[in-house]
Symmetry: C2
Subunit: 221 residues, 2 copies
């Protein structure tokens, strides 16, 4: 029996449609956008602070911060020299494309090269909501333990880069780097990885270089 | 105008009703139940392992572990000597009373004194779902940073005890204990607190004592 069943084009969710609109806005402005995700305390804000400071004069950076409460993180980004917008999700455990869209109204994209979106601290829910960023970046940290790729596969599977932060704590906690990386590799073969410490500065340069290079590509789009 | 509007009794959600049923099951068996929550990598499983080992011969312990994927944590609890049940939430970011109810069918409560429920690693969503445990316990950890009570108020507000883990890392990370504790106190005045390190064993005894004392109270209920 030949199939006569009509095939309906994949229908995008409302969120995914808005994410595409956000992406188009970034592209039209030649802006490179990243969505930074992590569990609470992995060091997203520290990484962003260091990035804003180090790239001053190289990239014009805007920062959008999602949190359940407080504007601590946006304050830190603004103090470091970025145009910063705070989204308080009012309890929601992740950002979505609608929240990002309204935050984008507060940023002059034409005056920026890079937009860093700091998602809500959560290793689960943010993975399910596209925002429209070009790259999803996961910040992992040594004291969280080496089993996290195995336990949070959805997050590790969906990202374009993994930043392994707090490597200065390796001497003080049990952490099998091989086991950790095998987990990442199984879920997301060949994903870009950075090992660094926001505290000591070790390894940060490779991360900065990657951002600059990706932002140049975006500007030529 | 006097009010003639009928007042409807507070209607419990389906989850809350099931949580009450779970609680009644614990109470009927004289079992003390705790719901352990934390962000990924704060040390829930290490704390539970240490607890099971230390209380062997004092309390008969059952362990219910909630994870998105893997049975790593339940395996560790079983290896430490507890009756262990694994719940894989299949992506859900928290346990709920229905999942707990079905897990309870796998445990012989009459042969237990203490049930430890390890929730999914997440500082947001688990706070919103009652399970029926007697006490909600939050495991915080030093490398997560001292701003977490301010950024995750819902979780800090709803717990009966806060375990501050990884105090052995205090010399290696910036952490203002005063600022952290002020945040806790503002949200949850007088909440029971323990400062300890699962790695060195420092401070664990006070936690064990609390569990034993609460389990005795439950047995007399």
């Amino acid at each position: 029996m030949s199939s006569k069943i009509p095939v309906v084009e994949k229908i995008l969710s409302a969120n995914d449609r808005l994410a595409l609109e956000n992406r188009a806005r970034f592209d039209a402005a030649g802006v490179f956008a990243i969505n930074v995700m992590a569990s609470p305390g992995a060091g997203k804000t520290s990484l962003i602070e260091q990035t804003i400071r180090a790239l001053q004069g190289k990239l014009r950076i805007g920062m959008i911060n999602g949190d359940i409460a407080t504007s601590f993180d946006a304050d830190r980004a603004a103090a470091a020299g970025a145009a910063a917008v705070q989204i308080n999700t009012g309890g929601d455990c992740h950002l979505d494309a609608v929240m990002l869209q309204s935050a984008l109204g507060q940023l002059d994209l034409s005056s920026l090269d890079l937009v860093i979106i700091e998602n809500v601290g959560n290793l689960i829910c943010p993975a399910e909501f596209k925002l429209g960023a070009h790259k999803n970046v996961l910040v992992a940290s040594i004291p969280e333990g080496d089993d996290k790729p195995y336990k949070y596969p959805g997050m590790y599977r969906g990202v374009h880069a993994v930043v392994i932060n707090k490597i200065d704590l390796l001497p003080y906690v049990p952490f099998r780097m091989d086991f950790f990386k095998e987990g990442i590799e199984a879920l997301n073969p060949g994903v870009v990885q950075f090992e660094l410490s926001c505290r000591t500065g070790e390894g940060l340069q490779a991360w900065f270089n990657w951002l600059v290079s990706e932002a140049r590509k975006a500007a030529l789009r």
